[in-house]
Amino acid sequence: MNRKLLMVVAWVWVGGPFAYGLYKLVSKVTLLFK
């Protein structure tokens, strides 16, 4: 596989779930300031 494409796939693989977790966390953090 193309090296650049592999890098993109690998970062999306780990970055996707991480972004989901971060979004959920930040929405919880906002409760602190409501």
């Binding site: 693989w13 966390l25 953090v29």
Partner: protein, 437 residues
């Protein structure tokens, strides 16, 4: 290499979201809070023990082998736990998730460390910071994901988050899906991880250029010899007490902020306490990457002076100002938790500075027994003191003041241990061509 390391650490970091399973387990099996915590506690103990026992083998067989073994153990731990729930045999859940899965945690935790340091010899703090930040991020992903899956498979909650009913096999199915999904997710690390070629260096970088302090050695010390040096045990104390102090807040974050401000004009609601806990998780995770990366410029010993010294000052501020300012309390707790995470992330680079890169993974594995010790010590101190103060009729900040001063004492001891770290004596160095001038 960073995505490979992250795919393993983001998966095994799930361990810190075990609390999501506690209430449903208690409802189905009639367990107490202490009993439902057993799989997690055994998992953390096994993490330290397996990292210590298998560290040398991880170095010898390489990161691909280690990540594969970690995948097998961690995921089959979930499958065994699912089997335990289906047959209502709780011992199988404890043995599966805590015992077998815990071995996966330990081997997985150390699997990318020495490889990352070899790929980034110019920035080892940043490299290990990325991976170990992933461990913090694992709970951040698993917490909401596991909770939503439990709901989807038939666990219902009331408005306050109390479990109302658990459908047949809801927890077992959730465990099984976790095992399968994590197996696929971690396989990326197994497939992608690569050790750099012997003598590989970033363009324009030489080992001598990074030797900016007497504490940065270009010599190599074996894991067997490392544990015979006072430096290893000084760092063991540093890690143990830094983690103990952080867990002190992390363990009781939600009841702590509620109790502190209960008798004030603006008491803390359950939703606000949840937001506070989330904020601490964020600080813990960002501290791992941020402070550890900074250690490449500031030096490892200086950074631990900062973590331990400023950490003690933050605890002192909380103890002195108690519930006078919510903002001060929150800021101090954030800083303490960022140092807690940073302590984990910076230690592999500190070990690399002192003992060289050859067996840094194995040495790191042995040092993680400090984490297992702190995992028992921290909650024990803060829970025992809070319980005894409550029994004596105290309320509010008084429940925690003694614990706070104990934490300051432990951080001071850690600071002293860090001050005692000196370059490793030449008699412990391996006789390699690199070591002989």
């Amino acid at each position: 290499m960073p995505p490979a390391a992250l795919s393993v650490h983001l998966a095994i970091g799930q361990a810190y979201s075990w609390s999501v399973f506690k209430s449903p387990l208690e409802k189905v099996l009639g367990l107490t809070g202490a009993e439902s915590a057993l799989p997690f506690q055994l998992g953390i103990v096994m993490l330290g023990l397996s990292a210590a026992v298998f560290g040398t083998r991880v170095e010898r067989n390489g990161p691909r082998w280690a990540m594969f073994v970690s995948l097998c153990c961690f995921c089959s731990g979930f499958v065994l736990a699912a089997l335990g729930m289906t047959t209502k045999q709780y011992w199988l859940v404890v043995l599966g998730y805590g015992g077998v899965g815990g071995i996966g945690l330990g081997i997985g935790y150390i699997s990318p460390v020495s490889t990352l340091i070899k790929w980034f010899p110019d920035r080892p703090g940043m490299a290990t910071g990325i991976a170990i930040m992933g461990f913090g991020g694992g709970a951040l992903i698993a917490s909401p994901w596991s909770a939503e899956m439990l709901k989807a498979f038939g666990v219902s909650y009331d408005a306050a988050g109390k479990v109302l009913a658990v459908a047949d096999n809801a927890i077992a199915t959730t465990f099984l899906v976790h095992g399968l999904v994590y197996a696929v997710f971690m396989s990326l690390g197994v497939l992608l991880v690569r050790v750099p070629a012997e003598g590989w260096r970033p363009a324009g970088w030489t080992p001598a250029a990074s030797k900016t302090s007497a504490l940065i050695s270009t010599n190599q010390v074996s894991a067997r010899n490392a544990i015979r040096t006072p430096q290893f045990w000084c760092l063991w104390v540093v890690l143990c007490f830094n983690v103990t102090a952080g867990i002190g807040i992390l363990e009781k974050a939600s009841p702590m902020i509620t109790d502190f401000f209960r008798e004030t004009k603006a008491p803390v609601t359950a939703a606000t306490a949840a937001g506070f806990v989330a904020l601490l998780s964020l600080a813990n995770m960002l501290g791992r990457f941020g402070w550890s990366s900074l250690s490449d410029r500031m030096g490892r010993k200086n950074m631990y002076r900062f973590y331990l010294g400023a950490g003690a000052a933050m605890y002192l501020l909380i103890a002195l100002f108690t519930n006078q300012s919510k903002l001060l309390f929150v800021v101090c707790a954030i800083v303490i938790l960022s140092f807690y995470g940073a302590g984990f992330a910076t230690i592999p680079a500190y070990l690399k500075d002192l003992f060289g890169t050859n067996q840094v993974g194995a040495i790191h594995g042995r040092l993680l027994t400090a984490w297992s010790t702190a995992g028992v010590l921290g909650p024990l101190i803060i829970n025992a003191i809070a319980d005894s103060q409550k029994a004596a009729g105290h309320t509010g900040p008084a429940l925690y003041t003694t614990s706070l001063y104990i934490m300051i004492g432990l951080l001071a001891l850690g600071f002293a241990a860090n001050e005692m770290v000196r370059p490793v004596d030449a008699r412990h160095h391996e006789k390699t061509p690199e070591a002989t001038p």
